[in-house]
């Protein structure tokens, strides 16, 4: 443990790869969970990687063509196997040998998991659907425009072309966009394993930095986003050092009004602040039944900033992140309000 901490501070003071930033946001309390993997990786490879070419450790490559086949592999191989969908987060992790699976199950060609459809009041998206397909889907535009706003913040076009929505959720980066959206909308994550399926809430699914409730024999099958009234306004916004970098703070907001200009629906979540997406419940509750005056939005954003519990890291202090939550919450609510009432932009 002491070795891990020493290595961590060594890393923090040195030049650190962007990819590793999520690991470095670990506070003392949560570091325990990563002690084994992090210290091993640092000792064996991270220091060496400055001089040698990066490449993954050897693994056996499996490429199932159906969900059933993929789940059977998982059931048989368990912890020795790692699932890869688009690989845009996993391959860097493999390149740096932060993960060295014995078996790599490439589900990139499991065609039964590419779909976007409407089902029982939900927008349902197959886990292997690419970010780019979501970004340009007319059905998503119609049923869940917040998702399109959010997806545009993900990486660069090259990344969005190969990265998948299931992969982003499974990776559970605290500053990723999709976990924040699914939490804000009270969506559902459908998990498959060889013996069946189960549906979990984001609250149950995201445990901490890069850690989810997924068991070694499970994989994400689809994401379900509740369809909100067409009149609802929405906004997704974030602050990062450069566009497409990991977000320091991001906010997803949805708001709807009745004919008396009273707020009937409020959905707010913050990403990048806590180890898992943070639903700003106090602010949501406060907004219901109120007229959206400037004072009301201000008060809601203060409530939002009081609910998050950010950590300090290289890029932002606790105070800075908290003030970002406040500023972005207000900004997101203002934009969402402008879009509310069926005048969708």
């Amino acid at each position: 443990m002491a070795a891990a901490r020493k290595n961590l501070s060594a890393l923090q003071s040195g030049q650190v790869s962007q990819l590793l930033l999520p690991f470095l946001q670990l506070g003392e309390d949560t570091l325990d969970a990563f002690e084994k993997g992090l210290s091993k990786a640092i000792e064996t490879d991270l220091l060496a990687m400055t001089v040698k070419q990066r490449d993954p450790a050897a693994f056996e490559y499996l490429r199932p063509s159906s969900l059933e086949e993929a789940l059977q592999y998982l059931a048989d191989l368990g912890e020795d196997a790692k699932i890869m969908s688009g690989g845009q987060s996993l391959i860097p992790v493999l390149n740096m040998r932060l993960s060295t699976p014995k078996y790599l199950i490439d589900i990139g060609r499991v065609e039964d998991l590419f779909y976007i459809r409407e089902e029982d009041g939900y927008l349902v998206i197959g886990a292997l659907t690419k970010h780019r397909d979501v970004e340009f889907s007319p059905l998503v535009r119609k049923l869940c425009p917040l998702l399109i706003e959010a997806v545009r913040w993900i990486g660069h076009p090259q990344i969005r072309l190969r990265g998948t929505i299931g992969g982003s959720i499974a990776h559970a980066d605290p500053s990723a966009e999709l976990p924040c959206v699914i939490a804000a909308l009270r969506g559902e994550i459908v998990i498959a394993h060889a013996d069946g399926e189960e549906t979990v809430t984001p609250d149950e699914f995201f445990l901490t930095y890069l850690l989810t409730s997924l068991q070694p024999d499970q994989m994400i099958k689809e994401l379900r986003f509740p369809i909100l009234p067409e009149t609802a306004g929405y906004e997704f916004t974030e602050v990062s050092r450069r566009h497409s970098d990991f977000a320091l703070v991001e906010i997803a907001a949805v708001i709807d009004l009745d004919e008396n200009n009273e707020i009937t629906l409020a959905r707010l979540a913050a990403g990048g602040a806590n180890p898992v997406p943070c639903v700003l419940e106090d602010a949501e509750e406060f907004l219901i039944g109120k007229e959206p005056t400037d004072e009301v939005l201000e008060e809601a954003s203060v409530l939002g900033s009081e609910q998050v519990e950010p950590d300090s890291d290289l890029h932002g202090s606790v105070e800075y992140r908290r003030s970002l939550v406040k500023a972005l919450t207000k900004r997101a609510l203002q934009t969402a309000l402008k879009r509310a009432g069926g005048t969708k932009g």
Partner: protein, 161 residues
């Protein structure tokens, strides 16, 4: 050693090769096929230098395994110049506008922009800057790259007429 046979079409030529399963597409292109125009900078998906076209779409070859490309067609920067040595309009525009200095990042910019100009033949400056946001250049400051893309888009439009 874990190996697998893959069939890929690289710059129009179909090849069947046996590769280590852990081999990155970038290493396959450079070390296996000797196409060293594709450059490797960060090797974890930040710098964009290794961008190639996979089935016509820009992708980072350091974020793909060679085995994932099985059955795909790959185009590298070597595919741009014509047999008689005529530069691609993008290459010509980069040269004309001094849009490169050391040249390390240039192949990645080329392949990113080939795909971008296919999708958006008449981009504005904002769209160009957005398109190249995933490629790092430490020499030029990007201004001349943006100018070059504007010139290339006009040249390509003329070519298409």
């Amino acid at each position: 050693m874990n190996t697998k046979e893959i069939t890929v079409t690289v710059n129009g030529e179909q090849l069947t090769e046996t590769v280590e399963t852990r081999m990155l597409l970038a290493d396959f292109i450079r070390d296996h096929l000797n196409l060293t125009g594709t450059h490797l900078g960060c090797e974890h998906g930040v710098c964009g230098a290794c961008t190639v076209l996979v089935d016509g779409k820009a992708a980072r070859s350091c974020l793909m395994l060679a085995v994932q490309a099985d059955g795909s067609s790959i185009d590298t920067v070597e595919s741009l110049v014509k047999e008689d040595g005529t530069l691609h309009p993008l290459q010509q525009a980069f040269s004309d506008n001094h849009a490169l200095q050391c040249g390390f990042c240039t192949p990645g910019f080329m392949m990113t922009l080939v795909d971008f100009l296919n999708e958006n033949p008449n981009p504005n400056e904002h769209e160009i800057r957005e398109a190249i946001s995933g490629n790092l250049c430490r020499c030029t400051g990007y201004a001349n790259i943006v100018k070059a893309v504007e010139q290339a888009s006009q040249a390509l439009a003329k070519q298409g007429e």
